[in-house]
């Protein structure tokens, strides 16, 4: 039993590893769905690092999703770059942007910070629409090739699924490492009382900027993965509404837990599967579900999960 408690993560890992053959039954549709889920897990986990651990509100995370996506799209479709190279360039570009924004923006508090992040999201989207000659504008960017690594083309769904989830697992492992490190503990300290942290000599701006860069780079990676899967890009998918969706996934799953966002992404991306017959009700339902979670389960889905888990082991340890 103790072994199970320590190695519980093997179960979800096995699920992910065998999913395409078991539940998905080799069908590209179901593999495809989990590819979208994986991409949003990366986005949400990044946001958790920023909001959940460091307490910095961001209502514009999709901006970095967009920068990575369009960098990959433009470089591969228009200039023939290799997808891997384009992705790395996208990550570097996003990192630089986040670094430049970090200090001035993260110095803001609460609502003002939220507004600034929202404003930047809008700036990115309006620039994508305005610079048509580069981005295809509102009509979109076409003919984006599939992802390939050194000549190995990943156009098969199942192959791409494993590639995406390999990256997801690396991101999760990375985030867990950050969170459990002294750097991570400092972030939490900044979250609970920034003034005190500064009094202790912590350069809070530096820490906040660094985690912001990390979260944005993750988002950029997710953007590149998204681009090569869709084969087509349009600014509609990167606006404030998308940022709000990511926020909702974060809270639904359980903020500040790294694993919560995973549940949140799964739930929000799979909800449409249940409601596609009653699509008109989907908006209302997602709002109601979120309300219920916020009022009755503030720790999110992961909170419920851990509560049940604790109960199980409390009984066993007796």
């Amino acid at each position: 039993m103790k072994l199970l408690k320590q190695f519980w993560w093997i179960l979800p890992l096995a699920f992910i590893a065998f999913y395409p053959v078991t539940l998905a039954g080799g069908s590209p549709y179901w593999s495809g769905l989990l590819i979208f889920v994986g991409i949003y897990v990366i986005l949400t986990v990044g946001l958790d690092l920023l909001m959940g651990y460091t307490g910095q509100i961001s209502v514009g995370h999709a901006a970095y999703f967009a920068i990575g996506a369009y960098a990959s799209g433009i470089l591969t479709a228009k200039y023939g770059f290799s997808p891997l190279g384009a992705m790395v360039i996208g990550m570097v570009l996003t990192g630089i942007v986040a670094w430049a924004l970090g200090r001035p923006v993260l110095a803001l508090k609460e609502y003002y910070l939220a507004m600034a992040t929202l404003a930047f999201n809008e700036i990115v989207v309006t620039l994508i629409i305005g610079l048509e000659w580069l981005t295809g504008g509102a009509s979109g960017l076409r003919d984006i090739p599939s992802f390939s690594i050194f000549g190995l083309v990943l156009s098969n769904h199942v192959h791409y699924y494993y590639f995406v989830w390999a990256i997801v697992i690396i991101v999760i492992a990375c985030s867990l490492a950050v969170v459990r490190s002294p750097f991570g503990r400092t972030l939490v300290a900044i979250h609970s009382d920034e003034v005190a942290a500064r009094a202790f000599g912590v350069d809070t701006a530096k820490y906040k900027t660094r985690i912001f860069v990390l979260a944005s780079v993750f988002a950029s990676m997710a953007g590149s993965l998204f681009t090569h899967y869709m084969g087509f890009l349009a600014p509609d998918d990167f606006g404030v509404l998308t940022s709000i969706n990511i926020l909702v996934m974060l809270f639904l799953g359980g903020i500040g837990t790294i694993f919560g966002p995973i549940l949140g992404a799964f739930f929000m991306k799979l909800l449409p599967e249940l409601t596609y017959q009653i699509h008109d009700y989907e908006l209302l339902l997602s709002g109601l579900i979120l309300i219920i979670v916020l009022v009755f389960m503030p720790k999110g889905l992961f909170g419920i999960f851990t509560a049940i888990w604790e109960k199980m082991f409390a009984k066993a340890d007796k």
């Binding site: 590209p28 179901w30 979208f36 076409r142």
Partner: protein, 384 residues
């Protein structure tokens, strides 16, 4: 000898049963066609028309006995006016529902996302938006909507006839604006028109008089605003507010009764390009499309209490095109079906007579588009 005969009979019985089984399953199993429409989101108001039109057409075909003895089944999903959702439901239709063809989508980016899926999985896809199909790259994609070029060329032809040479562009921010602006500049020289200026506006803005005031200083004789629905009405109303009594050309998407209501008290000339389906009474009797349109309108009126319109027409024709191709390719094999559609000639639809080819995946011609104007709350034909 007896043994031999028994053997023969047994074998025949065996063959008949095993053969009939699958054949029977085939005659029972319907042809599944995927329908992707914006039923929620900012395009939802026209998604409903497309859905109703396609569902009714499928119903009519089934009532008449189906195709090759099999029924058609339309599997409808909402793309929520989002390209990502469009891509996702297209995937679902192809892998989970096993459709043999797809129709739908109402905007250029969504069409792009769905076209990507159609090409990837070799499933013939007939879209109905301003998306321009490159028959080489979008091998499996066809477009039953009139080429947007027609919606610019015919009105420009009208302008030329009226001596209008200076046109200002007031384009909405978004794919329609980009499309309209690009086409306007492409065709202006052909019809002796000079584009005096171009401004963009946010379709959700409460006021666009700033842009119009700026354009007015350039002395235009007409304004071209390629937008649909409320934004088009806003442009017309704002021009009236500023006393700009010159014609305003809007998109062919406005050829529906809802738009007439929106501009009911606006007194400047409004030009709307449209296919025959928008004004059936004006079609000459010897036009084969007239019969098709009137018959469908009757059925639509009976079922939904209103006649079909330009949006429904596109999707009705899409269903027709697939049905015709299925008659040639009963196995519904993707590649063969695509080939059959590409070879379709002389198919009389509501939007015109379709002639596809390896270089033309749109099928309709310039003359299929008319220019209408709003007069006393009704449509009046300006250019046939």
């Amino acid at each position: 000898m007896k043994k031999f005969f028994v053997l023969i009979i047994l074998c025949s019985v065996f063959v008949i049963f095993t053969g009939v089984g699958p054949i029977m399953a085939q005659t029972k199993a319907p042809y599944k066609i995927g329908g992707i429409f914006p039923l929620t989101g900012y395009l939802s108001w026209l998604g409903e028309y497309k859905k109703k039109g396609s569902e009714l057409k499928v119903e009519l075909i089934n009532k008449a006995g189906g195709i090759n003895g099999r029924q058609l089944e339309l599997v409808v999903y909402d793309d929520q006016s989002s390209p990502e959702t469009g891509s996702r439901v297209a995937q679902r239709l192809v892998s989970k529902d096993g459709v043999i063809a797809m129709i739908g989508t109402a905007s250029v980016p969504i069409s792009g996302a769905v076209a990507s899926i159609g090409n990837r999985y070799k499933i013939p896809t007939i879209i109905g938006s301003g998306y321009e199909v490159d028959s080489k790259k979008d091998h499996f994609v066809f477009n039953s909507a009139h080429k947007t070029d027609f919606a610019v060329e015919r009105p420009f032809e009208y302008f030329k006839g009226k001596g209008i040479t200076k046109v200002a562009l007031l384009m909405p921010i978004g794919p329609l604006g980009e499309l309209g602006g690009g086409l306007a500049r492409k065709y202006a020289p052909k019809y002796g028109i000079t584009i005096v200026g171009e401004e963009r506006f946010d379709v959700k803005a409460p006021d666009i008089t700033a842009q119009l005031a700026k354009l007015r200083t350039l002395g235009p004789q007409a304004v071209f605003s390629f937008c649909t629905g409320e934004p088009a009405a806003l442009v017309a109303r704002s021009m009236a507010q500023l006393g700009m009594n010159i014609p305003v050309l809007v998109s062919h998407g406005n050829a529906n009764p809802g738009f007439l209501k929106l501009v009911s008290n606006v007194n400047i000339p409004i030009l709307v390009p449209a296919g025959r389906a928008a004004a059936p009474e004006s079609i000459p009797d010897n036009d084969p499309c007239k019969r098709v349109i009137l018959d469908f309108n009757k059925a639509h009126q009976q079922k939904f209490g209103e006649p079909a319109n330009y949006y429904s027409a596109e999707m009705v024709d899409a269903v027709d095109i697939i049905a015709a191709a299925l008659k040639v390719v009963p196995t519904a094999d993707g590649e063969k079906l695509q080939d059959a559609i590409e070879k379709t000639k002389g198919l009389v639809g509501m939007n015109g007579i379709y002639n596809f080819s390896t270089t033309d995946h749109h099928g309709t011609v310039l003359q299929d588009m008319m220019v209408l104007t709003v007069k006393d709350g009704k449509w009046q034909v300006l250019l046939k």
